[in-house]
Symmetry: C2
Subunit: 194 residues, 2 copies
Amino acid sequence: MTSFLVIGHTASTDASFSLNDLPGGGGRMDLICRAVGSSLFLSHGIRTDTICDILLLGQPHPSRIIRFDGSALRSLSPDERNIASHIKRALAIPTGKTLRQAGPGLFCKAGTLAEQLMEGKYAVLDESGIDIRTVGDEDMPDSFLLSDNQNLTGAEQEITANLPCYSLGPSIVHADHAIVLILNEIDRRRSGWN
Amino acid sequence: MTSFLVIGHTASTDASFSLNDLPGGGGRMDLICRAVGSSLFLSHGIRTDTICDILLLGQPHPSRIIRFDGSALRSLSPDERNIASHIKRALAIPTGKTLRQAGPGLFCKAGTLAEQLMEGKYAVLDESGIDIRTVGDEDMPDSFLLSDNQNLTGAEQEITANLPCYSLGPSIVHADHAIVLILNEIDRRRSGWN
């Protein structure tokens, strides 16, 4: 099982955002949607062994965590608009401190970064980290924390200061592209390509 | 300079497709837009040394080739809707056999796969190909042909039968994800990470 946690610093916490304005009114929800797609889609199917959690920190509500669980998802398409419609559906249900189902493989709860990080052994990505290709199989994490187009805040950096830190290459790439690179590295190791 | 050519077998050749229905009315234009985004976007900037050509084969007109040239593009955003609006703009200008500019770094012409392949030394991606990580620097191609969610047709396979063929990993991934993996491999080699 591989798990991603993607922080959307400005991503809407209310279901009322417009599918026609994901970057603006959605608070860079377009980027979050692409990250969900990169986590879950193969050419002709869903990665059933992958979870993508998104942490929405934008207006107007307290933060929300939405889970896309590849083992149970149905009828998700890879276009931003369809993924965003799933996010809207998840944001529309009453929210508590535990995950509540909004559809097959789709869940929502109230939650913070600190709480979520306690649920797995996360690694962070940073250009200063160890090249992921050089990490021993036994040290490969199964949970990865990524940020949207904004760097981690000071408070987030404090929370994540002790997490292992890996780099994916010399270029700094979007979160959805980083996820593609991580999954390729994991796929290769599992299939004996390295 | 790195160049991608992405075939959209059903992608609309008329500017009238709706930005609200890229997968359906656009003929899987969502996938084409993500491929353009993967080709050109770094975390905080555009890849100025990269070109993404898209070959649109859908209804109602003869095939169109639209070029996104990273060295000259302005005001392109990475969300599907914005990229699709650039495609609509390119499809709206009168089209001939040579590239005509529709905006900064944005061009369009009538053209076929066979014609386009003569403009570079292309490689194709296929799971049966040579692992791209094992290719010598001197053999790394600078132009890559990718297909949308459909396999190459019989006629396209004939045209491309003699092109070098590379594989990116054990999983078959979407064209936009394949582009991310190719660019990471090129980035690493150029920066001495391998």
